[in-house]
Amino acid sequence: MDQIFVTLKHWLVGFGPAQCQPIISAIISVAGIIGVFATLFAITTVLERKGLGRIQNRYGPNRVGPFGILQPLADGVKAIIKEDIVPRTADSVVHFLAPLVLVAPVFLALAVVPMGRNMVAIDIDAGVLFFFAVGAATELLLFMAGWSSRNKYSLLGAMRAIAQMISYEVPLILSAVSVIMIAGSLSTVKIIEAQAGYAGGLPRWFVLTPWGLAGFILFMIAAAAESNRSPFDLPEGESEIIAGYYIEYSGFKFALFFLGEYIGMFAVSGLAITLFLGGWHAPFAFLTWIPSYVWFFGKLLALIAVFIWVRGTLPRLRMDQLMNFAWKFMLPMALINLVTAGIWRFLDPGISRWLICSFLVLGPYIMLARGLLQGSNVGKRTYRYAD
């Protein structure tokens, strides 16, 4: 039951001639990934709108199907039949290419995320490096989208988006480096293998260690910023800059940008699951009979729910607040997290290692947070309710 997709793929590959079998195998993996994640994208759009609606005390979409679950079909039809408007002075070649080329690297990034036991599309030695390289290529494409529209607001949004993505790439990669240090390999499959086993009933995931928890939180915050997700969505906020770098895109190209952003969110959540949450491992030893891909997608849906929750709850960060947060708070925390991970590795297992590492994580957190407030008097939170 656990390996049902692997055996299915081997059976399908067995139909082709011997020379083409690697290519057929690759094509089947790619088709599977695109199919599954595009469907997940459709489901996520509905879940997000319903979830945001309930957080904001209203219903989400509820007309199209029962409880609005067929809404993505309506959205897809609308996106396809909408008129494709290209501004006359826009750079038409770059304007056309930008959404197309944007979707390719984000799907490429999903190729190294293992979705179950033996279910990786590519198992390379430098998997995590591949993921970050492909993520870095996405930024230039956003700039292409923003510049080619020949629109001042669009260019401003693109510049802000690039500044934000470059700034948050540093804590993202540094918090992943602490995991790579402990696991000893850049390959995603080996990192998951390093988190196998159960110690005293609890799994040996990296998130259940002090440096792992800090690293996981840093990684999730940086991931939200990397995919331009609220509360970091100033480059594309509706009320700030009227959708920033994709103002001039309508219809299907806008849908492609949307797809690219959400698949980017899935890809980076998938990497967070691989690095910190133990990949496809079950949380308790008595639950290992549930197939591994069910656990992976369950954890992925949980992380998506956290993203939607944060989007509905926190207000948007201003640009200078965003940059200050990245460089003054997250970068020192990520560096201290590296040191803490190293210290964890070399101390003997026991209560002292927990105490020392927790202190090393919490101490700088409290000191940095207090220090960066610079003495401004942040009183107790007050609430004003609408009557």
Binding site: A136, W147, E169, S185
Partner: protein, 164 residues
């Protein structure tokens, strides 16, 4: 072999386009294609770390830097007229002659007769170990250089704000 030719053609077309397109931002994007072709060549030669580092550094940072530099200085200019010089035919003839002289020298020298050792299988772990043992001093010097560059960039940016 066919893959090598395709990738080499892609890199060359990108590089030539980067020289000869009229719009400066298009040239920068064609240069990005050339970087991508180079990264693909590295990957085809099984140098995974160098290939991915090429994508991460060149496409992810250097290309963005070039594009920002173009934008903040002269990107709003109208496209230039043709940049080919009047004597382009003579230029191509000279280039072909020089290339053929160099190629014949290399092909007829003793270098084609040497015994090539088997290609080493370099993993990322080996690169890491070498960086930490044999090449530790260059690593630290590069770190120092990057720190100096970072501080210099911050100082340059800061002074621009103060004189306003």
């Amino acid at each position: 072999m066919i893959l090598l030719i395709i990738l080499a053609l892609l890199t060359l077309v990108g590089a030539v386009a980067a020289m000869s397109l009229r719009n400066l931002v298009h040239c920068a994007l064609a240069l990005t294609v050339a970087f991508a072709g180079l990264a693909a060549l590295y990957l085809q030669l099984d140098a995974q770390f160098v290939g991915f580092a090429q994508i991460l550094v060149y496409i992810g940072a250097v290309a963005i830097l070039i594009v920002f530099a173009i934008l903040l200085t002269r990107g709003s200019e109208t496209p230039q007229p043709s940049i080919l010089s009047p004597s382009w035919l003579g230029g191509i003839a000279v280039a072909v002659v020089v290339f053929s002289v160099l190629a014949m020298t290399i092909v007829r020298s003793a270098i084609t007769d040497r015994n090539l050792p088997a290609a080493p299988q370099v993993s990322v772990r080996q690169i890491g170990e070498q960086l930490m043992t044999k090449y530790l001093l260059p690593l630290e010097v590069i770190g120092l250089l990057l720190t100096a560059a970072l501080i210099g960039a911050v100082i340059i940016a800061m002074q621009e704000k103060e004189t306003k």
